[in-house]
């Protein structure tokens, strides 16, 4: 792994779960990262890499990505879980209401069940669209920023 890691300048701990892999055959950019000796790095430098992540975490660009993600996902998840639970509770406790016929043999229960399918498909579409238009580009930019800052990005 070390030979792929551009000198691994930042002193990684072995128990770090993200880095005890063999990056088999992947191209790794070494964009301006100083080739430090791979061994005997003082453990304090591990904080530096974390420092980069903390800095990015506090950056406006990342906050924007995170807020957009959470701003969409949390309310939507709360809504569809509530809608599903409502359906579940109604189906088990109010069979009379659910059995009321709407058109021909189709009753409220059938409409509600198909509406669950429909909202699932609809929310899938909405989430993907939101991620593609509002999040993907900014996230990729941040990924590149981090790649140059930490020099450890494995790029495909």
């Amino acid at each position: 792994m070390d030979k792929h890691d551009g000198g691994d300048p930042l002193g990684l701990r072995v128990d770090d779960p993200w880095r005890d892999a063999e990056g088999a055959g992947l191209w790794v950019p070494d964009q301006g990262v100083p080739a430090a000796p791979p061994v005997a790095v003082p453990p304090a430098e591990a904080g530096d890499r974390e420092g980069v992540f903390v800095e990015v975490q506090h950056s406006a660009a990342f906050q924007e990505v995170r807020d957009r993600y959470r701003g969409f996902v949390f309310p939507v998840a709360a809504a569809f879980v509530a809608w599903y639970l409502l359906y579940l509770v109604l189906a088990t406790t109010a069979p009379g209401l659910m059995g009321r016929q709407v058109a021909g043999e189709v009753n409220v229960a059938m409409v509600a069940g198909l509406a669950q399918f429909a909202t699932t498909f609809l929310l899938t579409w909405a989430y993907v669209r939101h991620a593609r238009l509002r999040r993907d580009r900014a996230a990729l930019d941040l990924r590149w920023t981090l790649a140059t800052r930490t020099g450890q990005e494995r790029v495909r």
């Binding site: 063999e22 992540f53 996902v73 639970l85």
Partner: protein
């Protein structure tokens, strides 16, 4: 009509020999194809990356098909449509829960897990915690969930073979369980993730193909008139209009209603904690392709469940609920009987052919699902349990050449673990042969939702979450879930229980989810609040930034 029903009911016992030959031929073809895939995939060198992820270069479409293949078990194909054929609308509640669960996976889990982990759930949970305790906890719960799910599938294989091929003989079921177990161990230990993924893809194509064919035949038979189909189903069920509304199965006592709410909660929250589903996201290169594979999976799974609804009502309308129940009390033979009736009825050539095709597809389904679960659980044993328990000292050392050997070692351990898990699953399945399949699947979902999901969501989204919180969340969900099952009417106190002779049941519900899922979340919160050391903000920053940007993802 009633005479025809009786004839169909006796059919399985009468002329098993006719379709037996064709079903065996079709199934042999499928097994040969999967063995060829395994041999082809097994020729590659076996790095752990290759073994556990198949090289991470599957396309979103391929992975979406494979996810759908992992998820659509025989319990869905035969079980849900059978439940609909017997109980009408109440069977449909299952398919809604199974599908809505995918929104949780899509929005909260798939991309973030892809960005933070390498092979298993424990990678994500332990990313910012102390490795050893968290890995052991997550590895243990993953193996428990997988074994429960495996037992459900293999019990299904046993009864399917008993019903479709060799009559009700106990010997045929035993051999079916052992045969399925041996095949799945072979696929996994020789083919790894690459072979397993391709087997899933082939299976999904077969399953969707078979389902589309039958659905079209049902709709053509009713001239595309859904109203007519529903009306005939209500008539054929013998329940009338009540068949089309909820309440036939779960509408009785408050206990059974609560039991169903518990099951529904487990279904919708459990999927995101299933180890074999989570490990599928590592077979694609990026979070974006993980997202796109889930979209494919939702499309396939959603349309599949919509079609099983048509098949279930179709079986009630064409075959009749009474005939289905005579053939199998749990309704598992509704779809094969429907296929036979659509082909022209018992004894006709097309009836025989369709019956055999459905049987072979169902068996292929079971085989593919068990292979996927075995792979995920052997990865947990090798990558989480073995690694954490064997090299705790490595925490303070630097990576050295021995680490490379460790990678090789992990694959070797995983191959042996597949054999061990296969043996355990075969033994348990033979013990649990008379258990209801749908119940066992519901139990696996409940344990996954209680033990894995709270810890996963906390570690992805909660800044203050600590090592102790993580360990408590896993055990705080796992132990109550299992304990409540032991104390439930499933294990003792009823004629159909595991130990019918004794009665130590205290907990009234069959599914523990309603209690154990909140307990998992509560334990995680409590463990975090009571932690001796606070969470490391730097490592949380790394987790958060990685999970949303994909920086440094392998």
């Amino acid at each position: 009509m009633s005479g025809g029903r009786m004839a169909a009911g006796l059919y399985l016992a009468d002329s098993a020999g006719e379709h037996q030959g064709l079903a065996v031929v079709l199934f042999t073809v499928f097994v040969s194809v999967t063995l060829a895939i395994t041999a082809w995939a097994g020729r590659r060198r076996s790095s752990s990356e290759e073994f556990f992820t198949g090289g991470r270069m599957f396309s979103p479409m391929e992975n979406g098909f494979a996810i759908a293949g992992d998820y659509m078990s025989a319990a869905s194909f035969l079980g849900i449509s059978g439940l609909i054929a017997l109980f009408g609308y109440d069977g449909l509640l299952y398919s809604v829960g199974f599908l809505v669960a995918w929104l949780v996976v899509l929005m909260l889990v798939a991309e973030l897990v892809r960005n933070c982990g390498r092979y298993t759930l424990a990678d994500v949970l332990s990313a910012r915690m102390r490795q050893r305790p968290v890995r052991v906890a997550a590895g243990t719960s993953s193996v428990v969930v997988s074994v429960l799910y495996l037992v459900a599938q293999m019990v299904g294989a046993g009864s399917l073979v008993g019903l479709l091929i060799g009559g009700e003989g106990a010997a045929a079921r035993t051999w079916a369980v052992i045969g399925v177990g041996a095949l799945m161990v072979f696929y996994v230990s020789f083919g790894g993730m690459r072979a397993t993924t391709w087997i899933q893809i082939v299976k999904t194509v077969l399953l969707i193909g078979g389902t589309v064919m039958l659905t079209v035949m049902v709709l053509v038979r009713f001239h595309g008139n859904v109203d007519d189909l529903l009306h005939s189903a209500a008539t054929g069920s013998g329940h009338g209009e009540a068949f089309l509304a909820p309440g036939l199965k779960y509408g009785g006592s408050w206990t059974s209603r609560l039991d169903f709410i518990s099951l529904g909660l487990a279904l919708v929250l459990g999927t995101a904690g299933l180890p074999h589903i989570l490990s599928r996201f590592y077979t694609v290169p990026t979070a974006r392709s993980a997202r796109r594979s889930v979209v494919w999976a939702i499309g396939l799974i959603g349309s599949f469940y919509l079609m099983t609804i048509v098949l279930g009502f179709g079986a009630a309308a064409v075959v009749g609920s009474g005939t289905v129940r005579e053939s199998n009390a749990a309704g598992n033979t509704a779809v094969p009987l429907l296929a036979e009736a659509l082909g022209g009825g018992s004894g006709s050539t097309w009836g025989t052919v369709l019956f055999a095709v459905v049987g072979a597809v169902a068996f292929a389904t079971i085989l593919a699902v068990v292979a996927g679960i075995t792979l995920a659980s052997s990865a947990s044993v090798a990558h989480d349990l073995y690694t954490a328990l064997r090299r705790p000292a490595a925490r303070h050392g630097r990576r050295d050449p021995a680490e490379a050997a460790m990678e090789e070692d992990e694959v070797r351990v995983a191959r042996f673990a597949a054999v061990g898990i296969g043996a355990v699953a075969i033994a348990l399945s033979l013990l649990a042969q008379d258990q209801n399949i749908a119940f066992l699947v519901g139990l696996a979902f409940a344990v996954a939702a209680s033990a894995n999901l709270p810890a996963l969501l906390y570690s992805l989204f909660w800044r203050r979450f600590t090592t102790r919180g993580s360990v408590w969340a896993v055990y705080g969900g796992l132990v109550p879930a299992l304990l409540l099952v032991v104390l439930s009417p499933v294990v003792s106190g009823r004629p159909d229980a595991l130990f019918p002779g004794v009665d130590f049941h205290v907990f009234p519900l069959q599914n523990p989810g309603l209690i154990s899922i909140p307990l998992g979340f509560l334990a995680g919160w409590l463990g975090t609040v009571l932690s001796p050391e606070p969470a490391d903000p730097g490592r949380y920053a790394e987790t958060e930034v990685r999970s949303l940007t994909g920086a440094g993802a392998v």
